[in-house]
């Protein structure tokens, strides 16, 4: 029980700090809105069919870019004033630190998504507020936040800093992105689950494998 309490404490600490400044959430939110507006002009959105085809991709691109902003910020906060060292000094299990940060990151992404999804509905008139869509968004976010937390904890410790994260993360997150986009398209069209089930399966498999691997190697990243 103590392990879970510590994970919860780490998440609570991140939420408390964020509530004070709201820096991360606001930058993620504003960024998402900008991306949506750019999509509006970049894609030929007069044709209804094009809108429907393009939306899942546009949605996930928005989520991923906003997500990376959050990931970078979240780890940068720990490096500032050596707070990560402070955490490492404690007898807390390294994996608890990983889960705490990863779940915290996922939570922030979900909060931003709560804003992004309705915005898509409003601007593009697409049926995104469906239960299955939300399930897919949550699954995609969890996987992305998991491996993203691991990779950003490395990226932030390199000379290139934040720029390194997309380079490391994109190739690795590719299968998840593909699966999420395809599954979202299926769910959005209201198709029965059996039609796009392989994408859902792939998404879950990705999440499980990559989060498990990330959690196992995290200690090697933080231990000097």
């Amino acid at each position: 029980m103590s392990y879970l309490r510590k994970v919860a404490a780490i998440i609570a600490k991140d939420i408390a700090a964020e509530l004070r400044t709201r820096e991360m959430l606001s930058s993620m939110g504003v960024f998402s809105i900008l991306v949506i507006i750019v999509f509006n002009f970049a894609l030929e959105l007069t044709d209804r069919q094009i809108v429907l085809t393009a939306t899942p991709g546009a949605l996930w691109v928005t989520i991923i870019f906003a997500g990376m902003l959050g990931l970078n910020r979240s780890l940068a906060v720990e490096l500032d004033k050596g707070c990560l060292d402070g955490l490492l000094l404690t007898p807390v299990d390294r994996s608890a630190i990983f889960f705490g940060k990863a779940l915290g990151n996922a939570l922030f992404m979900l909060i931003v998504e709560v804003v992004v999804l309705p915005l898509f509905v409003v601007f593009f008139d697409v049926p995104l507020i469906r239960p299955w869509v939300m399930v897919i968004v949550v699954l995609g976010t969890l996987g992305f936040a998991g491996v993203g937390t691991l990779l950003s904890s490395m990226a932030v410790n390199t000379r290139a800093r934040e720029v390194m994260l997309p380079i490391l993360l994109f190739p690795v997150a590719m299968p998840e992105l593909v699966a999420a986009v395809k599954a979202t398209a299926g769910a959005m069209a209201g198709l029965p689950v059996s039609e796009w089930q392989q994408w859902l399966t792939l998404l879950i498999v990705f999440d499980v494998i990559l989060v498990a691997v990330s959690f196992m190697v995290f200690e090697y990243v933080v231990e000097e």
Partner: protein, 232 residues
């Protein structure tokens, strides 16, 4: 308490520590001085379990590092020149968070107690980024002693403090920080370092160049020894 033998730390081809031998019995206050690049911070980080030795034996409280690191961490408090505090959270929130990580029993009472001991009780609800450097260092000490560690590691704690703040820090340290504990402190301040110590060590280029008990030295002799060993 601390037993270091043949400690070597290298970063690729660079050797930061080239075979350090050190023994610190329980309750002793050891001051480590040396020029920049001597390896003081590196050594302290290894003792704090933040870094792994490349070679050599490091034992703290009977536990060998790095295998026994998890157990050792319960008994260590570190004050470094970085505060290790979350700027956006209040003093109280910072302490409560660390207290949870250390499984400190009776957390609320303990937090209040240490805040009073370092003289920051009146600012407990304020975000740490509004604190002056001196106050932040005092809070850092509060954080370090929260879990009642038996070993205190201080890495150049006086850095960036003016005379006043440094004096305040010293008072706090001697009452709260170091009583009944084993202490290893690194510093550039030879006088202060000697005054508070039981034993002193001069570290030069990753090796112990000189060591003596405080009773054997006065300030002048110490300064002379330092000058000699760092010129060579």
């Amino acid at each position: 308490m601390i037993h270091v033998k043949g400690l070597v730390k290298s970063f690729g081809p660079t050797m930061a520590l080239r075979g350090v031998n050190l023994s610190v019995p329980e309750g002793q206050f050891l001051t480590v001085v040396g020029p920049n690049g001597a390896g003081k911070t590196t050594m302290l980080r290894i003792l704090a379990t933040l870094s792994r030795p490349t070679q050599g034996v490091v034992q703290i409280g009977g536990h060998a590092l790095p295998q026994g690191a998890a157990e050792v961490r319960r008994h260590i408090g570190l004050v470094s020149h970085q505060t290790l505090l979350y700027g956006d959270l209040s003093a109280e929130e910072n302490l409560r968070f660390y207290g949870r990580m250390y499984d400190v029993p009776d957390l609320d009472a303990r937090v209040t107690q240490v805040l009073e001991q370092v003289g920051l009780a009146h600012r407990r609800r304020d975000p740490v980024r509004t604190f002056s450097r001196g106050m932040q260092q005092r809070l850092a000490i509060a954080r370090a002693v929260l879990h009642r560690p038996s070993l205190m590691l201080l890495d150049e704690p006086y850095t960036g403090l003016d005379q006043d703040a440094a004096a305040r820090l010293e008072t706090v340290m001697s009452t709260v920080g170091t009583e009944g504990r084993t202490v290893v402190m690194t510093t550039h301040d030879l006088e202060r370092g000697l005054a508070v110590a039981d034993r002193v060590v001069i570290l030069v280029k990753g090796r112990v160049a000189f060591e003596a008990n405080r009773s054997e030295l006065d300030t002048a002799a110490f300064k002379e020894a330092y000058r000699q060993h760092t010129l060579a």
